[in-house]
Symmetry: C2
Subunit: 581 residues, 2 copies
């Protein structure tokens, strides 16, 4: 891919640049982090004129590689203050790649008259268009159809909702799914607020007659693609009719709950009495009962062979929301003491509509319950609190800024965040390795930055006892491998297969070699991943982060988590050891 | 003084301990910071069970030393996350000292049933009493009289208002003035929220028949006392009928405004067209016209010879509030575009009533105006916004948590804070030295931690051009000297006299020698002050602060301040040089 598109919102110009040699062999997270490190002052205000956003597809995105439709979006996070990469499925990654654009760099800031813009990109170039009034201030379920009416059904849209327009730090960036729902999110870290701060409502990608993705060595690529495909089609977690395909990611609910690591009522307990009612099994059953066959096993982007998404129906069979995922049903479910998928579904729908990350939003509602704004288990009130965000009331502004701000505003000490980002659906007191990941991730509490749940819970990549604390090496290795997957353009869920099936792992690397013409071996995974992590850590260090920030919330050290009655007892020295080398 | 009183709120016990040798020669800020460093884990949650508060009078407090009634209150700040010392005048410092108590250490946390307590201390010991219902949830103008009814008119009360009860991070700690108004504050840094988090509503100090403050060498003490007294009575700023005594601290309004460093409308401009109407001269004139003689030149604690306080009357001559000070009339005045002392007076009265720091509260209202919650200059709306804090609405919770949280919630980039604490009434773009102080102070933006305004604006301690940027040495020296004054128990305002009059400086040191039996010389001021600053910086470093945090808000580097059209151009290297040695 030959071009970088630079969009300057101060003077409203667009410019295509050639790709510097140093960026040639990277993509996805590797590229968003490299450009952020090279161009963004680490101490800048994340919503000021000196922050930037970078959009970049992965190495194999836009090719026939299976499950490779990811787009990475990075910059300095207004939620955490760290560097941030957040990636999404949906339709945008492949179209951006096929336009021959390696990255879009969004920079500058319009002088504050509130004007917003849309960036239209097609084979002929790029253009900033003023927004129509009816595109602003509304839910994305209303706005996206208007945009598709205007720009055609076959474009991809990368957009923000009212949360981003209002600079709320839990604003995600939305990507349409194959049926053009506003349902896929580069959600975490508030990058939607950065986009909003630059006055950009949406990017429209029309790849019609685009150049496509050049492949340097088609034979190597095809060999790799087949190996990876075979692994994905074989592994019990990823295969058609396997765990993810049948039950979605919420297949984890019962597993994690059984293990006593399913955070319940704002991390007061590790097991939820209502878990079964929000499980993947129940989602599957309800989808079939209400909507018939085909509501589960939904793919979020073309070419995915795992297809873990779903379209959840209302009681009358009409569509409520896509998608009820593990993290989302946990966040609005067990975390809030709610055991009703119609409630979690409505809350997820509101997230999609307003443009919010579901993990952060759900954890925030639980923190608000902790603060006494609602009782745990009160689904009606949970929905009302979510609607405050849509209305933009002062309370809505608080909640729209995430769990840490909500805790701060209401004096809540039991605040489950790391570096200002909400902890996902695995309690680190009961599952130590993921706690190490949360603590030392370059991006705040983020299970996807080093998913040690695979060995700790699922027996993938070997089986490791959940309570063992000396997992520094494991956490580091998972972070490195993840960073590589994040540049490859593949969904992280290929990890289940490639960790267990060596030829699948080789396949991923060979796909990259095929596209880039490189000769990477398996050893390069750790090398390249490590380089990305070290680069990100340097940014954070310059931004003012130290090992004192690589810690879990203090309450997890003195509040015992039932049913195992454990605290987080991984020594600080172990945490500091992860990246000491 | 022979005792430390340790109060444990977890098991509701009080215990007198002897003073460890290492604390024998320190007091005030030196003692609060030392105990904080020794006993508080730097990464603890400031509102959790592991933070502590230390209350300690200065070395000379409780003696006949002039203007020496200060009490220091320290711990880890919930506003900044740094170590914090905030000191106050009023009646408490002297009574604590005369009870023979060198420090009260408040630690632990009751199990959360919302119960609150009062700590009663007298010559016979200390006791935790349950609060009466009518003491809680009300304004301090209502609560303090009830407490005096219960405990007698001659006690001192160190208490918190509803802001502290609600754990708002702009909650200050209130000390009654000589007429028992809830009018003096250890305001900055939110230590009232820490007190609230420990369930302590108030400390009642009854020094009747207390042992008093032992003086090791009365002759040396008296010599020093006389020298200092003479200096204070001679210097134009501090003498009876001098600037502070006649006009109060707001004598600065016209001076700083003229210099173009008077932050106006949330730091958009450096000169306010309405400055004269909120000046010390106007305060003086209005006090005389409405209330008659004696409303200015009010002393905030016994034995003060400067007497810079005032009691500001309503149009009918009845009392509105004590005290209209420079920082407070600026924060609710120019900073909010308001030029009406009746408005600033009412806002200050609400701060006293709710238990808030006026600087942080006023800056917060200006930030709320920036966010569009009111127009600059709208005094009625400013009062209404303040009342939200009293009501405890969601918006009130936001505003009660200070300027940085308010900016975050509403997406305001022009946020005038350092380490989360509001910048006081000197714009650092126009007055560079105070900008260095704000940036490198151990406690967030704090003019009192190194008041370089003395030479930069007032010609005290020489005259230094306001625009010169190379002031690292000056900033360091002011911080060291200030830290010494903060252990001496004197009000910082003695600095005007002792910086210009060498015998006054000697007098301060000799007073300390007299009380402690030491042989300190002038050289020990910098040594002792430097030790305190270095100790505080070590705490902050362990809490996760780096030079990246020793910076002013980014907008001050790119937004030019009228009328001089200057940015903050002190190089980062200069900032880092201050404490590099």
């Amino acid at each position: 891919m030959s071009k970088i598109l630079r969009v300057n919102m101060t003077d409203l110009t667009t410019k295509f640049e050639s790709v510097p040699e140093k960026y040639r062999l990277t993509a996805g997270r590797g590229l968003t982090s490299a450009i952020t490190c090279d161009e963004v002052p680490p101490t800048c205000h994340p919503l000021g004129p000196n922050n930037k956003i970078v959009y970049a597809s992965g190495i194999t995105t836009g090719t026939a590689a299976p499950t490779s439709g990811r787009i990475s979006i990075g910059g300095k996070s207004p939620l955490t203050g760290t560097i941030k990469e957040t990636n999404s499925g949906g339709m945008a990654g492949q179209k951006l790649a096929r336009l021959g654009i390696k990255a879009i760099i969004l920079e500058g800031q319009p002088k504050g008259n509130g004007q917003q813009w849309v960036l239209k990109v097609d084979k002929d170039g790029a253009e900033l268009l003023p927004t129509a009034d009816e595109w602003l201030g509304k839910g994305l379920y209303e706005t996206y159809p208007l945009l598709f009416d205007r720009f055609g059904e076959r474009v991809a849209i990368i957009g923000i909702g009212v949360a981003g327009e209002r600079l709320m730090r839990n604003a995600g960036i939305c990507v349409n799914d194959p049926e053009n729902r506003p349902a896929r999110y580069a959600g975490r870290g508030g990058m939607g607020a950065v986009m909003g701060s630059k006055g950009l409502k949406a990017i429209i990608l029309d790849d019609k007659d685009g150049p496509g993705v050049p492949i340097a060595n088609k034979k190597v690529f095809d060999t790799g693609r087949k190996k990876l495909l075979e692994a994905l089609r074989t592994h019990a977690v990823t295969k058609p009719g396997g765990g993810l395909n049948t039950y979605g990611t919420a297949v984890l609910v019962n597993i994690i709950n059984e293990a006593g690591g399913f955070p319940t009522r704002n991390f007061r307990e590790g097991r939820f009495e209502g878990a079964a009612r929000i499980s993947g099994e129940t989602i599957h059953e309800t989808c079939e009962n209400r909507g018939g066959v085909g509501m589960t096993g939904h793919g979020c982007s073309p070419g995915c062979v795992i297809k873990c998404s779903n379209v959840y129906p209302k009681p009358d069979g009409s569509e409520l929301v896509s998608v009820q995922e593990y993290e989302s049903v946990w966040a609005f479910g067990a975390h809030c003491g709610i055991d009703d998928l119609d409630i979690t579904g409505e809350c997820i729908r509101l997230c999609n509509d307003y443009g919010l990350d579901t993990i952060e939003a759900g954890v925030t509602i639980g923190v608000a319950m902790e603060a006494g704004l609602a009782n745990f288990g009160d689904g009606k009130k949970a929905i009302e609190l979510m609607q405050e965000i849509g209305k933009g009331t002062p309370l809505g502004h608080v909640l729209g800024n995430g769990a840490a701000v909500t805790a701060r505003v209401f004096g809540v000490v039991r605040c489950p965040t790391v570096k200002g980002q909400a902890i996902p659906a695995y309690d680190p007191r009961a599952i130590k390795g993921i706690g190490i990941t949360y603590a030392i991730s370059t991006m705040g509490a983020d299970h996807t930055s080093g998913y040690t749940i695979a060995p700790e819970m699922l027996g993938v990549s070997g089986k490791v006892d959940q309570f063992i604390v000396e997992k520094a090496d494991m956490a580091r290795n998972f972070q490195y491998a993840t960073a590589f997957i994040d540049i490859s353009g593949h969904c992280l869920f290929i990890a289940f297969a490639i960790l267990d099936i060596p030829s699948g792992l080789e396949g991923m690397v060979e796909e990259c070699n095929g596209v880039l013409g490189t000769n990477w071996t398996l050893d390069d995974i750790g090398r390249i991943g490590g380089e990305i992590i070290r680069m990100e850590r340097l940014f954070n260090e310059a931004a003012g982060f130290t090992t004192a920030h690589d810690r879990l919330p203090e309450f997890m050290k003195y509040e015992k988590l039932p049913p195992h009655n454990v605290v987080f007892d991984v020594p600080d020295e172990t945490l500091d050891k992860v990246h000491a080398t």
